[in-house]
Structure formats: C-alpha cells, structure tokens
C-alpha cells in the first residue's frame, strides 16, 4: 500500500498523484502507440471507434457525472457535430478547422439547451433534452438541402495538407491524439474553478449557491462544454461511419451513451474509458453469442437493446459505481490484504429526498 505524503496544497490538484501513475500511464500510451504494429486493420478500426465513444463519453461524463445533470439527448449533439463537420468539410474547410467549428457550433446548441435548465432539475431536464433530441432528428429528416434527409449524406475521406487520414492506421492515430487532448482538457477543467463549481453544484445546489457559485451560469457552461466534446466526437464519427443518415442518431444512441457512463462508473474519467471499451466490445460479444445460442433466441428482434437494458439494470442494482468502482474495490482488496473489510464501500441507504419541495 502506498501512502502519499502531502507537503504542499498543490499536491491536492496534481494530475498525477505519484510516480507509479506516471509509469503506468506511459506504459499504456506506449502500447497504444505501438498497437498498429501488432493489430490488424479491423481491430484498429474498432479501437478508433472506442476512442470516439470515449470522447463523447467525456462530454457526457462532465455533465452527468460531474455536474449532476442528466441528458437523454446527447445523440442530438453527436448528430449536430457530425452534420456540421461534414458540411464544413464539403465546403472546403481544412479538417482541424472544420472539427473545431463543428465542436463550437454544437457547444452553442448546448448552451442554448442549457439556458432554460436553470429552472429545471432531474426528470424535467432529462425530458427536455429528450424533446430536443427528437426535434433535432426531425429537423435532420426534413432539412434536405443540408442533411440529405433520408437519402443520407456521404462524408468525404479525412485528409489534411495532402495527407490521407482515412486509412485505418492514420485515423487510429488521429482519434488517439484527439482523445488524449480531450482527456487532458477535461482533467484540467475539473481542477480549475469552473470544474470545482460544477462538482459543487452536483453535490448540493443550495450549498454551492451559498458559496457564491452562480447556478445558472455553471449549468449553462457545463452544458456547452459537454456538447462541445460530444460534437467533436460527432465529427470524428462522421468519418468513421462514412455515411450519415438520420436513423443513426436515435434515442437508442442517447441511451447507449448514458449506458456507457453509468456502466463505466459515474464521476470518474477512468469510468469513461472503461465504459467506452465496454460499449465497443458489446456488439462483438453479442454477435459471438448469436453464433452459440439456439436460433430461436438468437433471431429475436431487439435482442441487442434488450441485453443493453438487462446489463443496465444489473449494474444499477448491484454495482452502481460501475466498472471503475469494481476496479477500486478489487485494488483495495489486494492493497489491504488480508485486512479488507466488506463494508468499506457499503452503500448508505437514505430516506427519499423529495423533489416536490425545493
């Protein structure tokens, strides 16, 4: 077990707590950089998709896990990012600028949706974002001149300064680079006053307010930042899919994104990565299961969402802290061995906190 002796206040907000973290993260990044040498094109593509989910997950985690606002409409932000990016690319903007502008536009939409949220909490907010997502989906279907409607829209190959980024290895490095950048940005945001304010709002709005935090501004900023990250992921997703159609951005996608952050573990950036890996592996796992199962079960329509739902239920009942929480427990067990107490992470049952009187 490692004891961290803090001698300066700065130690509380350091990105890397101790040398061990430096070592292990360097090993991780090194192996990810070397992965294209070993892995085949298929796995590189899957990994790139995992990175894209992770970028979107960072956005959603900042909102759900750190600010405590639930959004059932993040697929809409992905869609806005994807379509805006494609529009800019086809109108001759270079890739980084197009991505940036798509992200900024999505952030603007996020702020727009975030503005009225100062009056809403919990369920109302979730439903407002859901309504927003449905409206965006309809707009995509009917605004044919920009989005191509149901016919869809072909995304040009990713390229920058004459360099082709559409190949699986180049795209892998592109996504990896952007993911690491986004992670560093998010982590730095979380130790800045804005991020601290977000966490304070999550833990108690009343106490945050009495500390002088402007609730409305913090929530709006959180929404904008979250949408910005998700829009960035949307731009990359557009290249990954190669073809945009409105039915790719349905309610199911919003729920998959939420599933990702819940299963990964709310309130930690590790959780985002775990969740993204989980979300990336799940379709493969289900496809493999299909081969094994008897056809009567394997051919069930809606089997995939059904399994998603079942996993969500099991996690929420048995492991509300997600995969990251489970990992913490396992690590703790070995650190404390043989003194680990089962009750260390026992859930505190509490009385219902009514939302009716606020």
């Amino acid at each position: 077990m490692r004891f961290i002796f803090k001698t300066r206040y700065h130690d509380d907000v350091r990105l890397f707590r101790h040398s061990g973290q430096w070592f292990w993260y360097s090993v991780l990044i090194g192996s990810l950089l070397l992965a294209p040498v070993m892995a085949s094109d298929f796995y590189l593509g899957e990994l790139a998709l995992v990175f894209i989910w992770a970028i979107a997950g960072i956005g959603l985690m900042l909102l759900v896990g750190y600010t405590g606002l639930v959004s059932l409409g993040h697929a809409a932000f992905l869609a806005i990012g994807a379509y805006a990016h494609t529009w800019f690319i086809t109108h001759g903007w270079p890739l980084p600028l197009a991505l940036l502008k798509a992200s900024l536009i999505t952030a603007m939409f996020g702020a727009l949706i975030g503005l009225p949220t100062m009056r809403m909490t919990g369920i109302y907010l979730a439903i407002a974002t859901l309504a927003f997502a449905v409206i965006i989906e309809q707009v995509i279907v009917h605004w044919v001149t920009v989005t191509g409607g149901f016919r869809g829209l072909v995304v040009p190959r990713a390229e920058f300064l004459g360099l082709d980024l559409g190949g699986s290895m180049a795209f892998y490095y592109l996504c990896l680079g952007i993911l690491i950048g986004c992670l560093l940005m998010a982590l730095n945001l979380l130790r800045s006053p804005t991020g601290r304010a977000m966490t304070a709002v999550r833990d108690s709005e009343i106490s945050a307010q009495s500390m002088g935090i402007q609730l409305a501004r913090t929530k709006t900023v959180a929404f904008a930042i979250s949408a910005g990250f998700t829009g960035l992921a949307g731009g990359l997703l557009a290249h990954k899919l190669g073809y945009l159609a409105p039915d790719a951005f349905s309610l199911l996608l919003s729920i998959q994104l939420l599933l990702m952050v819940v299963v990964g573990g709310l309130g930690s950036m590790h959780g985002v990565i775990f969740g993204a890996i989980f979300l990336g592996l799940l379709p493969q796992g289900i496809a493999m299961m299909r081969d094994v199962l008897p056809p009567a079960i394997a051919q069930v329509p809606g089997l995939e969402p059904g399994i998603f739902g079942a996993i969500l239920i099991l996690f929420l009942i048995f492991e509300p802290l997600g995969i990251h929480g489970r990992w913490l427990k396992i690590r703790r067990y070995f650190e404390m061995f043989p003194l680990y107490r089962k009750a260390t992470y026992k859930r505190q049952k509490q009385f219902l906190r009514t939302e009716r009187m606020r």
Binding site: P116, I123, Y124, A128, I307, G309, A310, I311, L316, Q350
Partner: protein, 289 residues
C-alpha cells in the same frame, strides 16, 4: 366541420396519451420514481390480451379482465424485483433502470410474440358513428368512454377506499405515512400493480387502432410529454395534458407542413418547460423559509 372532426379525433388520441400519462403520474405521485417503461407495460398488456382472446379463444370480456389481473401481478413483481432495491437511490438511477426495463420488455415481447404486427379481435372494431358530418370509429368511442369510466373509478378509489387513502397518504409524506402504520412498501407494490393494470387497459383500448407490435410502447414518450405538460404529479393534469397534446397534434398534422405533427408534442413540451416549468396543474412548490 373539419375543425370539429379534428377535435374529436384529437380527443380520442389524447385520451390514449392521457391514460398512459395517468400511469406515469400514479407511480410518480406515490413513490417519486419515474417509470419510463409505462408505454412498454401497455405493450405487454396488449400482447397478453392478444394471447388470451385470439390464441386461447377466451371471450373478450374474460380476456380483458384476465389481462388486467395478469398485468397487475406483473407490475407488483417488477416493483418487488427491480424497483424496491432502488428506494433511496438518486432519481436518475431509477429513471435509467426503468429505461433498461423498457428495452428488456421489448426484447421479451419480440421473443415471445414475434415482431409482426398483430390485431386483436375486439367487439369495438369496424363500425363508425356519424353525426353532422363528423365520423368517429367505434374503437375511438370505446377509448373515450373507457377513459371516462376509468377516471371515475380511480376518483372513487382514491376518495372512498382505505387502500386509496393509504396511497394518498404515502404519496404525500412517506415517513409520516409509515409512522401512521401504513405499510408503505406494500402500498408501493399496489401502486405499481394499479399502474400496470391501467397500462393494460390502455393497451387493450388502443389495440384496434394501432396494431400490436413490440415497438408500440414508444407512444409512451409522448405520453410522458403529456404528463409533464399537465404538471407531473397531478392526475387531472395528466388527462388535461394528454388531451391538449392529442388535439394539438391533430391540428399540427392538418395545418402545418409535414414533420410538425411528430414534433408538435415535444415543441409544446419545451414551450411549457420554458414558460411554466411546473406544468398546468402545479404540485411542486418552492419551500418558503
């Protein structure tokens, strides 16, 4: 005349939204949990009725009652297995768990009954009623009549029976109700059973109009909008919100370009949340210090 016709069809559609919204509101009022799977419970009810009436050949009325009883049992079971462990967890977690439940129910329905749309042989189907140039199908009439009857029954239940009063008490203050000797946990199970029974009734009433398939529960999302427009946590608000959304949708479909019919419910919802977030019939109050 056209306006009247649209109004009538809007009311009949609105009754459907209102009935599903009623189920949402019942559970929310009593347990402060949001059951996102309400639309899927309705779908299950319709499928069970289909099995009883069409596959087993029961008379319609017997099948109807059987469905209500079966769904009440299903509702109570769901409460016991899935919802009760979540008491005291943040509302967001409960919302997520019911979303997951909706997906599971849809997969189960797909596995048992298949994805092809089914019809129920209902005595209401077929004929239309005409007066003054307004036509109204018997099945729509059945929905309106069923809604009125159900609302009256619910009103009586909540006002005059011990169980109904206990439910009201539990919904107003859990802890106080518990101190008064009301078995709050059992009341929760009853509330879920009641809500599932209402969902089953809705399913049977809707079945002649929209075919039964595993995806029919998506109408629940619109009903949810109805519940919020009406002010979450108020039974008459749920009905009013449902009717409002049903009528607005019909008029939007007739007088506005395509695409507006599907989004009008949500646009109305967003507007409502902006202007009057507590809904038509407010139950949320700000605590005065």
């Amino acid at each position: 005349m056209e306006v009247l016709q649209l109004l009538v069809s809007g009311i009949s559609q609105g009754c459907v939204y209102g009935l599903i919204a009623l189920g949402f509101v019942l559970i929310y009022k009593a347990t402060e949990m949001v059951n996102f799977a309400q639309g899927d419970l309705m779908m299950m009810g319709a499928f069970i009725a289909y099995s009883y009436v069409n596959l087993m050949g029961m008379p319609f009325l017997v099948g109807f009652l059987g469905t209500i009883v079966s769904m009440a049992v299903v509702g109570a079971l769901l409460e016991r297995v899935i919802v009760r462990p979540m008491i005291g967890e943040p509302p967001f977690a409960v919302l997520m768990i019911t979303i997951g439940l909706g997906f599971v129910l849809r997969a189960i329905a797909g596995a048992v009954w298949g994805a092809e749309p089914k019809t129920i042989s209902s005595p209401f189907a077929g004929d239309v009623l005409r007066f003054n140039g307004v036509t109204l199908g018997y099945e729509n009439l059945a929905i309106i009549a069923g809604t009125i009857l159900l609302c009256l029954a619910l009103f009586g239940f909540f006002q005059f029976t011990r169980l109904g009063l206990a439910m009201q008490a539990a919904s107003q203050n859990q802890l106080a109700a518990y101190y008064c000797g009301i078995p709050v946990k059992r009341i929760y199970a009853f509330v879920w059973a009641l809500s599932a029974a209402i969902a089953a009734t809705t399913g049977i009433l809707v079945a002649p109009i929209t075919l039964i398939d595993p995806m029919m529960g998506f109408v629940g999302v619109k009903a949810f909008a109805a519940a919020i427009v009406g002010g979450f946590g108020s039974l008459q608000g749920a009905m009013a919100g449902g009717l409002l959304i049903g009528i607005v949708e019909q008029f939007a479909g007739r007088y506005l370009p395509t695409g507006f019919a599907d989004t009008s419910a949500y646009a109305l919802l967003l507007l409502m949340l902006l202007v009057r977030p507590e809904g038509l019939f407010a139950t949320i109050q700000r605590k005065k210090v």
